[in-house]
Symmetry: C2
């Protein structure tokens, strides 16, 4: 009998840090009186034998800044390689699996959205960071000048956390924004965008709302908070638009069909369930909203060239 769960557990910063660090360190204790909302540590401080080797839904932002060495991790079930002078952003709601790391130098920064936005009156500022939108590139290579800039910011964040002084909490927030804006520029430069996406067209606004709702929905589905994914018709209802119009907006703004975006999400969660839960194929099929296991098997095979069961076996071998 395995200890596999029916759903993907979610993870907060407290548990994340307890698992990453060999023992609760000084800072962990200092901040223990309230739910941890911010944490920064050196990648070299992280315990090599972390028990987070099962996927979790992280409910906070993480930023990896690699100074030296390299790191392989699983993000949204896809493997991700981070090398020296690279920075990587992940956001709340993503399914991640921790991987062992050795001889790495750099920083790992974690913070919740509430922590970040506490002082800010325009909560939509977060939507101005294009690379945090669904399906965006989140990994950036840093040239010498940018590397020095990021290193300075991470060093300041590390100092503010290790030795808090007057208004450290506020200062940390401002430094994170410096980092987020700087990265927005890297995103613009490295992806040759002519101008920043301003979400002025109504189709862009509706598509962004749809992608956000979709993200939230699949997080709830993975956690088991809801039992079935909504269909496009239901998304349209929630967004107060006509389903055909929703489809047009999504295609116009993202270049993809709403259906293909939902399929990608469904496949990701299916793979996650197959690998990390003990649920059988029928249970997974119904949980993901398929009318029968047969439909689910055909859907899965179309994209993966394996049946769900073959996939489960191939990965556990």
């Amino acid at each position: 009998m395995t200890t596999l769960l029916k759903n993907i557990p979610s993870l907060d910063i407290d548990r994340f840090v307890q698992n990453l660090m060999n023992a609760p360190n000084r800072h962990t204790i200092t901040h223990r009186n309230q739910k941890m909302q911010f944490h920064i540590c050196r990648l070299s401080e992280i315990d090599d034998a972390s028990p987070l080797d099962k996927p979790h839904i992280y409910d906070f932002f993480t930023i990896y800044f690699v100074e030296a060495g390299s790191l392989a991790k699983i993000n949204q079930l896809e493997s991700l390689q981070l090398n020296a002078k690279e920075v990587f952003f992940s956001k709340p709601g993503e399914i991640k699996t921790w991987q062992k790391m050795k001889g790495l130098k750099g920083y790992l920064l974690s913070f919740t959205i509430d922590y970040l936005l506490m002082l800010i009156n325009d909560k939509n500022i977060i939507n101005s960071f294009d690379y945090l939108m669904p399906d965006s590139q989140r990994k950036f290579a840093l040239d010498e000048a940018n590397f020095a800039y990021y290193q300075n910011v991470f060093n300041e964040l590390g100092k503010e956390y290790a030795e808090p002084k007057l208004q450290s909490t506020e200062l940390i927030r401002f430094w994170i924004f410096v980092l987020l804006i700087k990265t927005n520029r890297l995103h613009q430069e490295q992806h040759q965008l002519v101008k920043p996406k301003k979400l002025t067209r109504s189709s862009d606004v509706i598509c962004a709302k749809f992608l956000k709702l979709l993200d939230e929905t699949f997080t709830d589905l993975a956690k088991g908070t809801i039992m079935k994914p909504p269909r496009i018709k239901e998304f349209a209802e929630l967004l107060n638009v006509n389903p055909t119009y929703l489809g047009e907006c999504v295609r116009k703004s993202s270049g993809k069909s709403a259906k293909s975006i939902i399929n990608r999400k469904t496949l990701l969660l299916a793979k996650c369930q197959l690998l990390h839960t003990q649920n059988n194929i029928s249970e997974i099929a119904y949980q993901l909203g398929f009318e029968s296991p047969g439909y689910f098997i055909r859907f899965f095979k179309k994209f993966e060239e394996l049946t769900p069961l073959e996939f489960r076996k191939s990965m556990s071998a």
Copy 2:
């Protein structure tokens, strides 16, 4: 016939910059479509023959950061010397006179309070910066580490202004906050404060409100918007407290009597009027709220050891 005015004129960033710079520069033009809310320039860019040699009430914050050389200026009618590796803060409502400068290196930063607080939901954050409270020390000497820190921030601000990129306006705001918090710590260290002033005692809160109201009142008086300074009784009414209690709070919190604080403000404005307006002694006496010119003359002589007229003559000689 001189061109002296009846009141001290106020100055916004637009006019300040037009006067400081020999000609409107590129940035001035770029930002011309709206009222200027932020400006940064190198001290070496400033025209040596600025026409701002009369006092003005500045309606914005300025920060001087001196890298090399030294600068003498008049702030609130008192002369102020700034040397290399010093930083100086002034806030809206202060009466300042521009002084010539030569061979100076560093930065001059100007911004309005609206610009600074645009993104921030807690507008009271400004009160957490102790050195911006009335009668605080605003000049700070920088050691090597702090000098490097400030230089980095000013260089970043200079770059963001000279070559605006994606989200420069937001980034500038965050950098200014980094500067303000860092300076709050300098203030705490250099003035040996045991802990930051939190304004938790009711006497501190009332005293802070009184000082703020007093500042605003004297600015209005200098501008000619109001015709007579309020008395302590009237301040107490505006603050909704008993005059005796107000006096106790002010003494408890500031160590000075409310009367002596008002006297200091009155004297400052009197000197300003004597030097820079053509108003006669009677006019100045009544404007400052004295019942007769005789009272004003006695008041003035008590502090300055000269009559108002002797003072006016001695300074214009």
